[in-house]
């Protein structure tokens, strides 16, 4: 009886939560459905969530070469190279920079920090033309380099801000103790501060990864040859051939989402702890 009343009391809240979950998952589910049925099913049948008939043809077509021998695996590889390089370089530069901003005082510190912030306040489109010219001059257009450097200019400032916040949340006494225990500045950073900042590093890495993985407009500007396309560009290729190939499109989209989901599932633990730590301080 009591259990029943308890359940009843909880019902409204559960309903709201369920609604929200459905709202965010439904497009994804529909995408999954569309990717598992023949393209015509999308037009003929009433909206439905169970694919009929089920077919893997769309996925199979991903693995067969399209125009000029370029196909999904190539886009995927391009995206992986670009996204992972961006994340690695961003962390490599932003982590020591953020640490320095958090722990040391130096001339121009405040101005630099706000400079980074200001850069983030401008719409990214503003940088499109300057970066295009720059990459042309550097002869980097249509290369991984153009994408990686471009994504770094977008993500580094926020990386530094985020990581600085995490380092600020780590009591400096730990490193002071390490210094007294005989460690040098670098040692105290690497052995003591860095391990304590892992959740923050992971959260920042995920943020950068998604930025680089999903980016479309900048890539469209920089990349002209088909075999340099990243996944978002590859995705758009399905529109440019007259009638959209919904099957191929959704299958590509699913293939593109899977790495993000996997990264998130694996690192979720850190991500949550980073978010809550930022909120609570300590």
């Amino acid at each position: 009886m009591r259990a029943a009343r308890e359940a009843l009391r909880r019902t409204p809240r559960s309903a709201v939560l369920l609604g929200l979950v459905a709202f965010s998952l439904l497009p994804f589910a529909w995408m999954l459905t569309a990717s598992l049925e023949p393209p015509q099913a999308l037009y003929t049948a009433a909206p439905h969530l169970v694919p009929r008939p089920v077919t893997l043809a769309n996925y199979a077509s991903l693995l067969s070469p399209r125009e000029q021998g370029v196909y999904f695996p190539r886009y995927f590889l391009n995206s992986v190279v670009v996204a992972f390089s961006t994340v690695a370089l961003a962390l490599l530069v932003a982590t020591p920079a953020a640490y320095a901003f958090s722990r040391f005082t130096f001339r121009g510190k405040g101005m630099l920090m706000y400079g980074f912030l200001a850069q983030n306040l401008f719409p990214g489109v503003n940088f499109l033309v300057p970066l295009f010219i720059l990459m042309t001059v550097l002869g980097l257009r249509d290369t991984y380099g153009a994408l990686i450097i471009g994504y770094l200019t977008f993500s580094l400032p926020l990386n530094i801000w985020l990581l600085r916040g995490f380092f600020d949340g780590i009591p400096p006494e730990m490193e002071v103790a390490a210094r007294l225990d005989g460690a040098g500045v670098v040692r105290a950073f690497v052995e003591v501060a860095l391990p304590a900042a892992v959740p923050g590093l992971v959260a920042t890495a995920i943020y950068t990864f998604i930025l680089a993985w999903d980016e479309y407009l900048y890539a469209l500007t920089m990349i002209s040859s088909a075999d340099m396309r990243t996944l978002p560009l590859g995705l758009f290729a399905y529109f440019s051939e007259g009638v959209p190939d919904w099957g191929g499109l959704t299958a590509t989209a699913i293939g593109m989402s899977i790495p993000v989901v996997i990264v998130f599932l694996v690192l979720q633990r850190y991500f949550v702890s980073a978010l809550t730590k930022g909120a609570l301080k300590y």
Binding site: P171, E173, M174, V176, A177, A178, R179, L180, D181, G182, A183, G184, R187, E191, V192, P195, A196, V198
Partner: protein
């Protein structure tokens, strides 16, 4: 051997040095001594400790260790260890990793490291916890790891910054005993910072009381307690605050009468020097050195009329808080336990235990203590 000496060490912050964190102080700490820096929040205790550790360069003065000027020496070359208020354990290292770290940094070979970690863990009762991470430990256990990490390499100087303030009262008392025991076992020169006067009194060979960046008095706990050299020390030290009241000094024959603002006679003392006529001063009496009665008796000391306002119960003792008309609220140890709010009573001070302080500077005015009671009067105290 580690004898630490501060010579005129001061610290100012801010662009033009407008924030004085520490006025220039001189302090000599003997080898193996346990000295406590005691003072309220913001008085410069941590600043002093950080200057000693080399974490903060002093604005003036120099720091000497065993006759060597170490003012500009890097922290890691000073061979000092520090325990922090929040323990500052390395969160990604196990208890073993934490204890081992200082040894590893100093190039102690692996075998020797393992032996000393085991030994220290044994001393502190941490043996079963060696493979845990700091966040899997209770506050008291973390505190013990922090102590162990600081002690394991036998530093020349051991610095502790309010190491017990994050613990609950019971654990604090227990750890206090532990620290005392450790110091007996490893007699390392120790500078201990606290704002808890009871902790300072219980642990120290000597206490250095600080206020607003100034070192006010340095001495053994008993001296600090019984002979405060400054009104600040008088008010700060003691489980129950000392009564401090403004009085006028009035010369009578060969002695001095202390009068409350309402004109009541508080106590009669004899001063070493002659006070200026009608000088103002601050009179200090601990509640334990005052008594009350329903009506004054004729025993030669002045009795002060007062009205009970409240009864304050502190632990097993209770204190009568009574107001002197136009004067201060006095706290008196209630030995009889029969006072009731609203009751009119009389209060008498033990003349041998009163303190006088200069109203302007706060410095103690030397009182010749034994002379106050006249010949033949022998006030009885339990």
């Amino acid at each position: 051997m580690a004898e630490l000496r501060l010579e005129g060490v001061g610290k100012r912050y801010g662009g033009r040095g407008e924030v004085v964190a520490l006025e220039p102080v001189d302090l000599a700490v003997r080898d193996g001594e346990f000295i406590t820096i005691l003072g309220p929040s913001g008085c410069g205790k941590t600043t002093m400790l950080h200057v000693i550790a080399g974490l903060v360069p002093p604005s003036t003065g120099s720091v000497w260790l065993d006759g060597t000027d170490i003012t500009d020496l890097d922290p890691r070359d000073r061979d000092m260890a520090m325990v922090f208020q929040n323990y500052a354990l390395y969160p990604a290292k196990t208890v073993r990793g934490n204890l081992e770290f200082p040894l590893r940094m100093r190039g102690v070979p692996r075998r020797e490291r393992a032996r000393r970690v085991e030994e220290m863990a044994h001393v502190l009762g941490l043996t079963p916890l060696l493979d845990r991470l700091p966040r899997q430990l209770s506050g008291g256990q973390q505190q013990r790891v922090a102590l162990g990490r600081a002690l394991i390499r036998r530093p020349r100087v051991f610095l502790m910054d309010e190491p017990l303030s994050n613990l609950d009262a019971k654990l604090r008392a227990q750890m206090r005993g532990e620290i005392k025991r450790l110091h007996r076992q490893f007699p390392i020169t120790t500078i201990y910072v606290t704002h808890d006067q009871a902790e300072a009194m219980a642990l120290s060979d000597r206490v250095a009381v600080m206020n607003r960046g100034v070192l006010v008095q340095v001495g053994p706990p008993a001296e600090i307690y019984h002979r405060p050299s400054h009104v600040f020390v008088a008010g700060f030290v003691g489980a129950v605050p000392m009564n401090l009241a403004r009085v006028r000094l009035h010369r009578v024959e060969d002695a001095v009468e202390c009068l409350f603002p309402g004109g009541q006679r508080a106590v009669r003392v004899r001063l070493d020097g002659t006070p200026p006529a009608d000088a103002a001063a601050v009179l200090g009496v601990r509640p334990q050195h005052a008594r009350w009665a329903a009506r004054p008796s004729d025993d030669g000391v002045p009795w002060i009329p007062a009205v009970v306002e409240d009864i304050d119960i502190v632990g097993e003792e209770s204190y009568v808080l009574a107001r002197v008309e136009h004067g201060p609220l006095l706290s008196v140890l209630d030995r009889a336990g029969t006072a009731a709010p609203g009751q009119s009573i009389a209060i008498a001070f033990e003349p041998a235990a009163v303190h006088l302080f200069d109203e302007a500077t706060g410095h103690a005015v030397p009182v010749e203590r034994v002379t106050a009671a006249r010949r033949g009067d022998s006030p009885a105290y339990p």
